[in-house]
Symmetry: C2
Subunit: 146 residues, 2 copies
DNA sequence: CAATTATATATAGCAAGCTATTAAAATGGA
DNA sequence: TCCATTTTAATAGCTTGCTATATATAATTG
């Protein structure tokens, strides 16, 4: 009887949700002084990797909905992190570029994120940490295909 | 150099956030027909366990902020899932009770959540599934004390 | 017992996620 | 070529999370 035994504490969905909220709080604390947030950080990572991507490319890469990305980019533009430039060949498309200031945030932001990752996995062996990533990757794959 | 090697795909924080969004989508799909949502579900679980809890007790049990709980309870009251009754001894306190309809949702809601948990852990051995819970619990503990 | 402090809840306002809809531009077929 | 379809992005409106602040009631203390 999975149903009658069900408990919050042993439900993967509940645990993951709780864990994600704790991650968000910890990262937020550390990147807020840089003018970044948990919504903008993944976009920054994608753009530090490759600037000039289109909104559609960012959506596919980060796995959020198109409307979420549009809103996030608007806030980022408002806050001076990115600029949107018209695509030269397709008037529907906007390409996204970092501002000079945003380019400079890479090192401290990544340092902050690494710090949180280390804190989160404190007390784990390298093997356990690798196992956590492996299992997480599998859950993502399982839920993505459904 | 953790910093220069940093990649989204191998950052625990990023992975966990992504995984949590996928869980939310999967559970939402299945409990929406019941009139439930991912914000209300944990509250329902707590109340199915024990009715008449105060807002403060629910806050402590579920680990969300007080303001978040207040808003969630307001929506639940609006949607006919709970009623708030004055505490008999302390006029500051409201106790929270399920409606008849809400009591009847327990079985189908838990079935839906179990289904998502099974889907998420598909392809894992019992041992791996237990390991996932263990590691997740440790991350929650690590981030909670900080 | 009055005044301060502590506790419980509510409200304001923002971020970041979602679905659904709209608008504009590009593409493709008759 | 022109009309219908597809693609890209923006907007509206909702939930769920947060911080900061306000308000009301209890509790404590001088």
């Amino acid at each position: 009887m999975t149903e009658t035994n069900f408990s919050r504490k042993h439900s993967e969905g509940y645990q993951v949700n709780h864990m994600a909220r704790l991650f968000i709080r910890a990262i937020q604390d550390r990147i807020k002084p840089l003018g970044l947030s948990t919504g903008t950080f993944p976009v920054m990572l994608a753009l530090w990797e490759k600037e000039g991507q289109t909104q559609r490319e960012l959506v596919q890469e980060l796995g959020v909905e198109q409307a979420t990305m549009a809103n996030t980019l608007s806030r980022m533009e408002r806050d001076g992190l990115v600029v949107r430039r018209a695509h030269e060949a397709d008037a529907r498309v906007q390409t996204v570029w970092l501002t000079e200031r945003a380019r400079g945030l890479r090192e401290p932001a990544i340092r902050a994120a690494s710090e949180v990752n280390d804190l989160a996995t404190r007390g784990m062996s390298d093997q356990q940490r690798a196992e956590f990533t492996t299992l997480t990757t599998q859950v993502i794959a399982n839920l993505s295909e459904a």
